[in-house]
């Protein structure tokens, strides 16, 4: 009896084991796991897949930056800005940080990475990910920040800047919604 069951089990393993261990099996039909997406988009320049995000939360009229900066002489000097962007005060990675650590001096419509590569604002997670590696990893998995849409299908990510002001990234406190009624309040 026992031998019988074991033989059947082994046979089963032999026959179906392949399916059990095949790596990128997704249970939810029609979905693309991160792993699958990664495999598909793994081209030399595109190491990581693009994440579908809503547009960056720019203030109205500020983008494209080149509307003004296209004609302006870039000024690499660290200084108190007086004519423009006076509401921007860096409170992020310490006193050494300056605008051009992130913004490209020559092409103001882009951000730049430490290796000099230019990226668009809708890919700014690569910029933040350079210094916040674990957070970036969690973000890609949908665990830091949030995703909406379908748990087994299309997902919309949020950019880091939908929640954090890049210049003062500490999450801003919110007004809470009203508390529940106390039992004693019930008429």
């Amino acid at each position: 009896m026992i031998i019988n069951q074991r033989t059947i089990f082994l046979l089963f393993l032999l026959l179906f084991g392949f399916f059990l261990i095949s790596p990128s099996r997704s249970f939810s039909s029609g979905s693309h796991s991160d792993a699958e997406m990664l495999q598909k988009t793994k081209t030399p320049e595109h190491e990581i897949p693009k994440y579908f995000v809503p547009p960056p939360p720019f203030s109205e009229g500020i983008f494209p930056c080149s509307d003004c900066h296209g004609e302006m002489e870039p000024n690499p000097e660290r200084r108190e800005l007086e004519e423009m962007h006076t509401n921007i005060h860096l409170k992020h990675a310490g006193p050494e940080q300056w605008c051009t650590d992130c913004h490209d001096l020559k092409n103001r419509d882009k951000l730049h990475l430490i290796n000099g590569k230019l990226i668009n604002f809708d890919e700014l997670y690569y910029l933040c990910g350079q210094c916040h590696g674990t957070i970036f990893r969690d973000w890609k998995a949908g665990v830091h920040g949030k995703r909406t849409g379908e748990w087994n299908g299309k997902k919309i990510y949020r950019l880091c800047t939908h929640c954090h002001n890049p210049h003062q990234p500490h999450f801003k406190p919110l007004k809470p919604k009203h508390p529940p009624e106390r039992p004693s309040d019930i008429k």
Binding site: S26, F27, S28, S31, S33, D34, A35, E36, D138, A141, G142, V143, H144, G145, K146, R147, T148, G149, E150, W151, N152, G153, R158, C163, F171, P173, L174, K175, P176, K177, H178, P179, P180, E181, R182, I186
Partner: protein, 307 residues
Amino acid sequence: MSKKIRNNPLSLQLDRRKFLKGSALGLAASALPLQNADASFIDAFFQKHFRELNKKEIQEVLDRLEQEYSEQYSKHVSVKATKAMPGVQFGYGLDLSRCIGCRRCVYACVGENNQSRDPQIHWIQVLSFKKGEKWTDLEDSDKYYNPDKVPEPDHWYMPVQCQQCRNPACTRACPTQATWKEPDGIVVVDYNWCIGCRYCMAACPYGARHFNWGQPHIPNDELNPETHYLGNRPRYKGVVEKCTFCIQRTRDGRYPACVEICPVGARKFGNLLDPSSEIRYCIENKRVFRLKEELNTLPKFYYFYAT
């Protein structure tokens, strides 16, 4: 107990308890007020247990309810009964290192799931704790906090809702099998089968079940007309209700309403059987725990600290 315990044909003049009493004595027929019984009343009254209905019978029940609700709320209300997807066990994650206690989830849930506004029912309770203070009992915490801004310094917050236990105490306590665990792991209540004895509420260690002490009230224009039989369809006075992981959304592949509203992204949801789901990522990469683990209820609701 008021005569008219439910605002549906099921109980125009009598409640199921009287009927059960009658039938026990073999007097079932005489307990029926046949003089004012129309066909839909009879249908409702003799409706079989939901899980014993065949496809056609389910459709009849859904049609009947759609008609009742649409009349009651003066707009078209749809009621579906989408079944569990095969190969799916739903799991939920909540990141306590991010939650700021803003209660956006509470009210998104109320709206999505048609909770009564008056008397007030909230499926999600957000508890506030002082950092470093020992928390012995959930019941001792503060859920009425109301500062100008959250998070308050030195506080942390823990939202609690139905934990969708693998080994639920509530379903076993039910004398009429009006509540059960579905194949995708969601614990549901059939509001047309619940007799309102509240044994399940006593059995639930998480205070996650809520009773309709009065006739539930939802303004017509606020009613969410996309409903599920086992989820957010309008309830009756005298029945128990609870979180269903937004069954009406999640069985169609969407995220629960609380996940989508959360401004800090503390809420995670997915298929526990899918190794690439975000819930699996949390369990495998973060420190997770479950509430009152010692009771062996085996919740599918995981609390964790991302940092």
